[in-house]
């Protein structure tokens, strides 16, 4: 989808060595990780990440037997000042767009990026365009 980022998500058991294994696979495939997040639920967790080459990462992990998926998420460039997250979340909420999860990182070019998984991507894009925030897509992530 235009204007979105491909996120890699995978299932991992919550036990010693699993993250190392995943990192090893990515390392061997020469994948550079831009943003990374683990959500844990007891015995297992879901690892989500934004990488420089999502399709390559997907194939590498899948061939190692992981349950992995590609998810469309939205990348929002935030002003690195107080109140910018509030403005984004408030606008989405008022327009009935639900945020399933979110995580943020700062690029080496000092850009604050917010990754959002929402239940209505076109809706979210419209809202965010209206409040004049810039959306970042996969090609831009690759060239970071």
């Amino acid at each position: 989808m235009k204007g979105t980022i491909k996120q890699i998500s995978l299932f991992a058991e919550n036990k010693p060595g699993r993250l190392a294994k995943i990192a090893e696979v990515l390392s061997k495939a020469k994948i550079n990780i831009r943003a990374f997040n683990i959500a844990e639920a007891g015995d297992f967790g879901v690892i989500r990440m934004v990488v420089d080459d999502a399709d390559k990462a997907f194939r590498a992990l899948q061939s190692e037997g992981f349950a992995v998926s590609e998810t469309e998420v939205i990348g929002v460039q935030m002003k690195d000042i107080p109140g910018s997250l509030y403005e984004i979340a408030k606008s989405l909420g008022e327009n009935n767009v639900n945020i399933d999860y979110a995580y943020a990182f700062i690029t080496k070019t000092e850009m604050a990026l917010l990754i959002l998984r929402v239940d209505d991507i076109p809706g979210a894009q419209k809202v965010l365009n209206n409040i004049k925030v810039r959306l970042v897509d996969s090609s831009e992530i690759s060239s970071l």
């Binding site: 991992a12 297992f44 037997g65 349950a67 999860y101």
Partner: protein, 433 residues
């Protein structure tokens, strides 16, 4: 206190017991051949006639009987006595599909009662004892079976059944209960509840004997129970098909005495061939005295070892050692029979679940716990945690509906469960039994 309920019968020399067994076996075979269409057909198919049974070894010429036969002949088509002579029925819960019905003539009830009277006497119980029967009453054979046995030896019976634990403990105190019959895990639970009430079963009650069974339990559990409550804990054995609870250990606690004048035992291997004494195998029982529903070479399914040596207690009847497992990999979880095939059929009906799974039985504190490990396939995977938790809940509820027990679901990575290693790998029983 009596040493034996019936010294002559319990100390019959082994060779004489064998003679009694042969005589009764021949009568039984003759009787069922004439009275039961089921057995006559089976014997004819196997090409065996009653007159072929000339020695006890000839029993191997007779076909086996299976639990499936009881189901297929539901409710009473396998009965050999006229139904108007049946004075009681019991029935299984039907957890594994169709329930089974068992019936008893007056003589069957007497035989059952006498069997337990001998056993309870061997545990040092008798007149003056107060026996709290905390096995379930009703269609389950445990409660009523124990009740009649305890009354027979002159004990005062407290027919309380299962549950209402605080009341159990109050009555145990007020009526000076000396013996209790229940599952080992329930007794341990009772001990915890007593502690929470500020009561010590060890110090504040007269309890001295536990007749414990109806679920697998280990020697370690026995030791814990005996130490915690300062009682002697005896293992009990029986199944509803054979009558219900029938046999216990004696004071030597070295195997369960099986009354050989009423029951003939064999131990067989996977191919159905006899295994030498002292080796483990599947228990096969022939009921020599039962009238309503005699069973010939009944495959109980429990794995054990037989010991024909005379016991230190002076009893000559063979003993079986603590049950080591099941031939059909059935699990008993909190008293409920669980067949892995049931779990499999539930899982395979859930599209998100892959073909690989594993069942783990374990003990958490005193309670059995069953965990089902399921691989998360690409189809089942979602990057949203809530979806995965919903899947866990869906599997748990589907299993609960069929098995009647609560299970723990563990989602694991694709490819991590053992593959094509045979059936046994799918079930891991970590409980020490």
């Amino acid at each position: 206190m009596l040493d034996y309920w019936n010294a002559a019968a319990e100390r019959t020399p082994f060779e004489e017991l064998r003679e009694i067994q042969l005589r009764k076996l021949r009568q039984l075979v003759d009787n069922v051949y004439r009275n039961s269409l089921f057995y006559r057909t089976r014997f004819d198919e196997a090409g065996v006639k009653p007159e072929d049974i000339k020695s006890l070894d000839d029993i191997t010429r007779l076909p086996f009987t299976f639990k499936k036969d009881l189901r297929d002949n539901y409710p009473t088509k396998m009965f050999c006595a006229p139904l108007n002579q049946v004075v009681r029925y019991h029935a299984s819960s039907g957890t594994t599909g169709k329930p089974t019905v068992v019936g008893y003539t007056r003589g069957d009830i007497d035989c059952w009662t006498t069997s337990l009277a001998r056993s309870l006497t061997a545990c040092g119980l008798g007149r003056g004892d107060v026996m709290q029967v905390s096995y379930g009453y009703g269609l389950f054979t445990g409660g009523l079976g124990m009740h009649y046995g305890a009354e027979e030896i002159g004990a005062s019976v407290l027919p309380i059944g299962v549950g209402n634990t605080e009341r159990q403990i109050e009555l145990m105190m007020d009526l000076n209960t000396t013996a209790i019959a229940c599952t080992p895990s329930y007794l341990l639970h009772m001990n915890e509840v007593a502690n929470s009430m500020g009561i010590s079963i060890k110090d504040d009650t007269s309890l001295r004997v536990g007749i414990l069974g109806a679920e697998p339990w280990s020697l370690e559990t026995r030791k814990r129970i005996e130490d915690l409550m300062d009682i002697k804990a005896y293992d009990i054995y029986g199944t509803s098909e054979l009558s219900g609870p029938l046999f216990t250990e004696c004071k030597c606690q070295d195997g369960i005495h099986i009354w050989a004048d009423h029951f003939l035992l064999e131990i067989i291997d996977k191919n159905g061939d006899p295994v030498p004494e002292g080796h483990k195998g599947e228990l096969v029982v022939t009921t020599l005295s039962k009238e309503a529903l005699p069973l010939i070479r009944y495959r109980v399914g429990d794995i054990t070892v037989i010991n024909n040596e005379e016991c230190e207690c002076g009893r000559t009847h063979p003993r079986i050692m603590r049950i080591m497992g099941r031939a059909d990999d059935m699990l008993i979880i909190r008293g409920i029979n669980v067949f892995p095939s049931q779990v499999e059929s539930v899982l395979m009906n859930i599209p998100e679940v892959g073909e690989h799974y594993q069942i783990i039985a374990d003990r958490n504190g005193e309670l059995d716990e069953m965990t089902v490990r399921v691989e998360v396939t690409r189809a089942a995977f979602s990057d949203k945690l809530a979806d995965l938790m919903k899947l866990e809940k869906k599997i748990k509820e589907a299993l609960q509906k069929v098995l009647n027990i609560s299970t723990k679901i563990e989602l694991v990575e694709t490819g991590t469960l053992p593959r094509s290693m045979g059936k046994a790998q799918k079930v891991i029983d970590k409980r020490k039994i």
